[in-house]
């Protein structure tokens, strides 16, 4: 019996390796090398233009914490954005998906409308929004004006620029919505029918069935939201270049400038690895907490 179970186990391991093999191979071939290389760079003063490379130990990391106000500035901007944008896009995307999962007339059409912004490329996003956010002639301030509010001078103002970016990220929430929609398809309608027989109203059905059943997808969108928010780059880069006066200098913009504009690949790599550990830490917290709120049919904890 014991032998059978152990052979069963090794057979399982064999299957596991088989299924994981594409990723394991890809990791070894394409991913691990460059990651290790950048880790090595972070302990050096690599400059590709000068062709300079010396190991300088922990100097980059020391400089980062001891003598770089821009590092702290970039971190602050990124956290401020993440704290608002992550929950906002998470909730709005989810509610939108629930709304569009109903059999309203023309649902196909409405879903497509909401999805459209997420296929607009970054450069074009800038083209569209800069005019809308114009202080004097933009549609947004005109609308605010109708409501009796004097709109900010968006891109000429630090807070304004950050708020504008949050509004834009909300606009392209359609990608997350699609994932929720896919998740909603997996919920058995019998569950709702049973709840109805128990006398549950729509709100109860939503909180007792929809939300728990969707937790694996919410978990996915939360983790991915953290990862992508901390690497936010394309929109601020094309729209603001980090300005005005570095008010939207996100962490990744600072990395890009350091690595390519300042040609300080070593320091840029150190910055990147610090970000790596910040995101890893945050994700680990979420994963650890997930045991208490993510509900899997397989009763495994992530």
């Amino acid at each position: 019996m014991a032998r059978a179970s152990s052979s069963h186990k090794s057979k399982d391991l064999g299957w596991a390796l088989f299924f994981l093999s594409p990723w394991l191979l890809g990791f070894v071939l394409f991913t691990a090398g460059p990651m290790i290389a950048s880790l090595v760079f972070s302990f050096s003063d690599l400059n590709l233009i000068k062709g300079q490379f010396h190991f300088i130990g922990l100097d980059n990391y020391i400089r980062l914490f001891a003598a770089d106000p821009k590092f702290l500035g970039a971190l602050t901007v990124t956290f401020a954005y993440a704290l608002i944008a992550i929950p906002l896009t998470l909730v709005v995307g989810f509610l939108l998906a629930c709304l569009l999962n109903t059999k309203v007339p023309g649902a196909d059409f409405w879903r497509t409308i909401f999805y459209m912004p997420s296929v607009v490329s970054g450069v074009v996003v800038a083209l569209i929004w800069r005019g809308l956010f114009n202080e004097k002639f933009g549609l947004i301030n005109w609308l605010l004006g109708l409501a009796g509010i004097v709109g900010p001078d968006w891109f000429n103002d630090g807070r304004g620029a950050l708020s504008a970016l949050i509004i834009i990220s909300l606009w392209s929430v359609g990608g997350g919505m699609i994932i929720y929609l896919a998740g909603l398809q997996g919920i058995q309608t019998q569950l709702y029918e049973a709840a109805e027989l128990d006398g549950c109203g729509p709100i109860q059905k939503f909180t007792r069935i929809t939300i728990p059943m969707m937790t694996p997808v919410i978990f996915f969108n939360l983790i991915m939201g953290i990862i992508s928010c901390f690497q936010y780059f394309t929109e601020p880069w094309t729209l603001t270049r980090g300005g005005p006066a570095e008010a939207t200098q996100f962490y990744n913009i600072y990395i890009y400038k350091t690595a390519f504009s300042y040609q300080d690949m070593g320091y840029g790599s150190a910055l990147a690895w610090i970000l790596f550990f910040i995101v890893l830490g945050l994700s680990a917290l979420v994963i650890r907490s997930s045991g208490s709120w993510v509900h899997y049919e397989t009763e495994e904890k992530a």
């Binding site: 088989f18 071939l29 968006w154 620029a161 094309t238 729209l239 603001t240 005005p244």
Partner: protein, 460 residues
């Protein structure tokens, strides 16, 4: 178990086969003509109409040369930093980069070849070129580039708005001692009009309801421009480039001027050149028809057609600073030869071919610049007059005599960090984040000193 091992092995084998397939793709080393690659993307030259015209020139070169063949490689301006760095890291640097301006040259200062020895060897004649344009690419004893074209700066003005405000046009003649920045501010106030028709110099002027603005400085004002106009040291540091000097009285006067222009005299709305919060939205100041006069470079010529349709306009000389001196900003486009490229000699031959007057004339036409050979100035003027006979094009040519040296984009240690620090300061002033400009400059000076120290420490 065995079956799964086999399957796993199968996936492995497939992976290796795919990798192997790729790696045996390119190996044939070619003999025959040397291929010289020219990277375009550090400046203009990437629009499809430009690409076609440049490729045509390459074709002509290739037809007339047996030993060298030229190929243009294009990358969009926004991605040129990453592509160029990747090419260098991958050991396949392009042989030439063009067109590239002073800033692009300074950013990668260490990567460009000194072409001085070639100039000497071939006795290449530089006399025909604008002296100031050659100076912009001298670095110590080295010469890094010879420009194909120049983009001098002037004042562009909307004559209709001057007529409406009953003001005399600014002078076309350079060197007018009465035409100063103080005067420009005054004039700007008289041409800044609110909804009730009151001007900025009158009592009861309502700045919140401004309909027409008076005077705009270069739209993406690089900060260093202004101190040099006010008699300051353009580079903002000592001659040995070791001590920051960005808190001098001249620098402070320049910052105060910019601040007053926007926040005290309200001649110009606040703006951010960093985040693209342009004062006139998607339009340029003159193009918007809401600004009376504006400092421009000749590369604005892509808008001239539209101006023709909307207004009568002309160009005038730049004002003098408080010391009476005139400093005109100059942009230039050159070629550079990469050190890591493998065909220095051939690259120089290619560059020489493009520098021939007739080829240069065509290049200048493609890029929208003024040829940097003085003998081509008359031709350029004739061409411009054909399109717009009412504009005094000579003002652009004369601007070359007042070109500020060192160039405002000239190299300094830790170039891009210093540059970004200055732009951040300037953005702070133009958006109102920095209202105390003196203190702002003290902070800037401290920050820049840090970058200088960092650079010289690493040199030891």
């Amino acid at each position: 178990m065995k079956a799964t091992v086999n399957r796993t092995a199968c996936v492995l084998a497939m992976a290796l086969a795919v990798l192997g397939l790729g790696s045996c793709g390119k190996s044939a080393a070619s003999s025959g003509p040397v291929k010289v690659q020219i990277l375009v993307g550090f400046g203009t030259g990437t629009d499809d109409t430009q690409q076609k015209a440049q490729n045509q020139l390459a074709q002509e070169f290739n037809d007339s040369h047996k030993d060298i063949q030229v190929e243009f490689v294009y990358v969009q301006y926004d991605e040129h930093d990453s592509k160029f760095t990747a090419m260098l890291a991958g050991g396949m640097a392009p042989d030439l980069v063009m067109p590239i301006g002073v800033m692009g040259v300074a950013t990668y200062q260490d990567e460009w070849l000194d072409i001085g020895p070639y100039i000497k060897r071939d006795k290449f004649d530089l006399k025909d070129f604008y002296g100031s344009s050659i100076d912009t690419f001298k670095s110590g004893s080295k010469i890094i580039g010879i420009p194909f074209g120049v983009y001098p700066s002037v004042i562009a003005y909307n004559a209709d708005l001057f007529d409406k405000g009953k003001q005399a046009y600014p002078p076309h003649q350079w060197g007018d001692k009465d035409w100063t920045y103080a005067k420009a501010m005054e004039l700007g106030m008289k041409l800044t009009v609110d909804d009730k028709g009151k001007t900025a110099d009158q009592a009861g002027f309502n700045a919140a309801k401004t309909k027409l603005y008076g005077f705009a400085l270069t739209e993406s004002l690089p900060w260093r421009v202004l101190p040099s106009k006010f008699g300051g040291n353009t580079l903002g540091m000592s001659a040995d480039l070791k001590t920051a000097q960005m808190n001098t009285p001249e620098w402070k006067a320049a910052a105060k001027y910019l601040h007053d222009l926007i926040f005290v005299n309200k001649v110009l709305p606040k703006y951010s050149s960093q985040s693209g919060g342009g004062s006139f939205g998607d339009a340029s100041p003159i193009g918007s028809n809401k600004c009376a006069f504006w400092e421009i470079h000749s590369w604005m010529q892509y808008e001239f057609e539209q101006w023709n349709a909307n207004m009568s306009w002309d160009i005038a000389a730049l004002p003098a600073g408080p010391t009476g001196a005139i400093a005109a900003e100059l942009n230039t486009d050159t070629f550079v030869i990469t050190k890591s490229g493998k065909h220095h000699d051939q690259a120089w031959e290619v560059a020489k071919w493009f520098l021939q007057p007739q080829v240069m004339k065509r290049l200048a036409g493609i890029w929208g610049c003024i040829p940097s050979r003085q003998t081509l100035a008359a031709d350029w003027k004739t061409d411009m007059l054909k399109v717009n006979p009412k504009v005094d094009w000579q003002v652009f040519i004369d601007s070359m005599k007042y070109a500020a040296t060192p160039n405002y984009e000239a190299w300094v240690p830790n170039y891009k960090k210093v540059w970004d620090a200055m732009e951040k300061f300037c953005d702070g002033v133009t958006t109102g984040a920095i209202m105390d400009t003196d203190k702002g400059l003290e902070d800037l000076n401290k920050e820049v000193q840090g970058y200088l120290d960092e650079y010289w420490k690493s040199k030891k």
